[in-house]
């Protein structure tokens, strides 16, 4: 068989019990959140909400208890993640840490790093940002120029610039991907990951970058002779590329890769509710079929993760199909409902349509562009 098959999702009763608990919790904590706010999806930032998630034991769910985790399955974590996204809850203050920074620390961190940080992430008290992209290293991540040089006392001196750093202005830590030896011509050789305390490191400047809507999520993070302690190294010196690829597998594997526009689908169904139109039924039926199928495939990725298998290619397929689905939604919605998109509108449909239209271009850029993902899939097919 040629096809990249997805393992069937595992049905778990404990996970379904948990689903009910999460829905009840969200119905209370999220009640005041209006549709336009929900449409922000995983960009909504609220430290208090993240702490409440931590108190419930819904962060760091799969990690060992000794590091503040809860030793639950990947399927249970999946339930919490998809329910918070579907409800449009403000998850950004824990999102990156829970999804990728924590797992990367767990895999590569020293005992001291794990003990110091993981329990704080699991409590919803610790915000992480990602230190990957640079002005001249976007899709071509191996072109990184940011450099950390080992000093005589073992400390690291960092110079360079990271870009598109989401919530860098709120973050307590960054996992910095950079060069620790050689030159950009050496590509992925000589790269490492370092843990940066964003609040306590001098020589780090965070400047806002506003997106096309005028919102401030992105930043430029500039390092000028910033000194990191000797124990800032995360994992093995020179193994940064392999580590960062592992981190990206976490970043690409979740349901956030097809649920970003779900609020618009909810509003569309509301606007079409009484419609007997064939066009409406066809469009909504098609979108629903896509959504359910993407979810099946995505839960298959969770099954791969739980089995300890490499989910890179499967995650790339779900992310590519998922971004296309999320991005198609605004045009489908506006072809069915005669309402002008307007962020200021009192109509939830019109406001959410305007928001999602403007958010959509990022869906196939963030976390690996469409072109990069298709390259990964093509390599798996034996074409590269």
């Amino acid at each position: 068989m040629t096809t990249l098959t997805f393992p069937p999702p595992v049905e778990s009763e404990t996970a379904e019990v948990l689903r009910t608990e999460v829905r009840t919790f969200l119905a209370e904590t999220n009640a005041q959140r209006i549709p336009l706010e929900r449409a922000e999806s995983w960009n909504g930032f609220d430290r208090e909400f993240s702490r409440a998630m931590g108190r419930r034991g819904w962060l760091g769910m799969t990690w060992p208890k000794e590091y503040g985790g809860h030793e639950r399955s990947a399927f249970e974590r999946y339930v919490v993640v998809e329910e918070t996204l579907a409800a449009g809850a403000p998850v950004a203050a824990h999102w990156i840490a829970d999804r990728q920074s924590g797992p990367t620390l767990l895999r590569h961190g020293t005992e001291a790093q794990k003990r110091a940080i993981l329990p704080r992430i699991a409590a919803g008290e610790c915000v992480f940002c990602i230190g990957m992209s640079e002005p001249d290293a976007g899709s071509d991540l191996a072109a990184t120029r940011t450099r950390a040089e080992r000093q005589g006392d073992g400390s690291w001196k960092v110079n360079g610039t990271k870009l598109w750093t989401t919530y860098g202005h709120e973050a307590d830590y960054m996992i910095l991907f950079c060069r620790t030896s050689g030159s950009p011509a050496d590509r992925h050789k000589g790269t490492s990951q370092l843990l940066v305390d964003m609040k306590a490191t001098s020589g780090v400047t965070v400047r806002p970058i506003h997106d096309l809507m005028g919102q401030h999520h992105f930043n430029e993070v500039h390092f000028e002779d910033a000194v990191l302690p000797p124990d800032a190294l995360l994992g093995t010196e020179g193994q940064g590329w392999a580590q960062v690829m592992g981190e990206l597998a976490y970043e690409r594997s979740g349901p956030e890769r097809f649920l970003s526009s779900i609020q618009l689908l909810i509003e569309l169904i509301g606007a079409l509710r009484s419609s007997e139109s064939v066009a409406a039924q066809s469009a909504v039926g098609r979108l629903f079929a896509h959504l359910v199928t993407l979810r099946q495939m995505s839960r298959g990725v969770a099954a791969l993760l739980e089995a300890g298998e490499d989910p890179t290619v499967h995650a790339a397929i779900v992310k590519d199909l998922g971004a296309t689905f999320e991005q198609d939604l605004p045009d489908i919605a506006r072809s069915l409902v005669d309402e002008e998109p307007d962020l200021q509108s009192t109509s939830d449909f019109a406001a959410v349509l305007a928001y999602t239209t403007m958010a959509a271009p990022a869906f196939s850029l963030r976390g690996g562009t469409r072109e990069i993902l298709r390259g990964i899939i093509a390599r798996q097919l034996g074409l590269r």
């Binding site: 040629t2 098959t5 169904i269 039924q281 359910v292 099946q296 495939m297």
Partner: protein, 268 residues
């Protein structure tokens, strides 16, 4: 899947590969070859794959029986084997006598029978999609233009990535519907609608890409590609057109309303 099923799958795959390789492409088969081929299919018991053991079938679970249907889609041979499987299942359920020889057309179907037949088409499509993906990968690796294999062109790689993704999605949707049918209960109807909507779309996109990447060679009558693509174009609209199935899903989602969307997704 148990050992007996996997042995059966292997034998069926071998037999159907063999028969399909011997059948002339795009021309009628000699009467004698036709009769011999069908006899071999019957000797393996394949026409009773979808019939329960108590009713004289092979004793396969629904999940395994539909795997055999997928194999029929992967190795298209000029006998209406899946139609015969369905006819025998429905005859046994209705307490009537099974057909002698291959069944070309099913008669009037109940709503429930139509769902089973629609799901069989989805699994045949899953098999055919797998096949055209493999054929297309081989073709772009073997065929060179401008001094290098087609596979080395990025535009070709990206088209194939889309093809592979559509195939994966179509198959996931069909497999999910089989799982729901095997579980019993009322959720199978919606899952079959979802499968037919999704794999129908995947078939359209995949067939178009497969033809594009095969170039003129794949448009020739003597090439095997059209056995699969023309089958996909037929199957996606049989036992309920793709449009009909898609509307059934849409009608249910709209009737349930916006607040029911997410619970409906997680229950689907």
């Amino acid at each position: 899947m148990d050992d007996i099923s996997s042995i059966l799958f292997e034998s069926a795959q071998r037999l159907l590969s063999d028969l399909s390789a011997r059948a002339p492409i795009g021309q009628p088969m000699a009467e004698q070859d036709r009769a011999d081929g069908w006899r071999q299919i019957e000797e393996m018991g394949l026409p009773f794959a979808l019939t329960s053991e108590e009713q004289g079938g092979l004793g396969l679970s629904d999940a395994d029986a539909f795997e055999l249907v997928r194999i029929c889609g992967r190795r298209i041979a000029p006998w209406p084997l899946v139609e015969t499987m369905l006819a025998n299942r429905f005859a046994a359920e209705g307490g009537t006598v099974s057909a002698e020889g291959p069944v070309e057309l099913l008669g009037e179907l109940t709503a429930e029978q139509r769902e089973v037949a629609a799901l069989a088409r989805a699994m045949q499509m899953a098999g055919a999609l797998d096949m055209i993906l493999g054929m297309t990968i081989s073709h772009v690796q073997e065929r060179s233009q401008f001094g290098r294999p087609l596979a080395k062109f990025q535009a070709v790689q990206h088209s194939l990535a889309i093809l592979a993704s559509e195939v994966a999605a179509g198959q996931a949707a069909a497999e999910h519907a089989v799982a729901r049918l095997a579980q019993g209960g009322s959720s199978a109807t919606l899952a079959i609608g979802i499968a037919r909507a999704r794999i129908g779309e995947a078939s359209s996109k995949a067939a178009a890409i497969a033809h594009q990447l095969h170039g003129a060679i794949g448009y020739a009558r003597e090439h095997r590609l059209h056995l699969y693509t023309t089958s996909l174009w037929r199957w996606r609209d049989e036992y309920g057109t793709q449009a009909w199935w898609t509307r059934q899903v849409g009608r249910q989602v709209l009737a349930a309303g916006p607040d029911a969307l997410w619970p409906m997704v997680t229950a689907a």
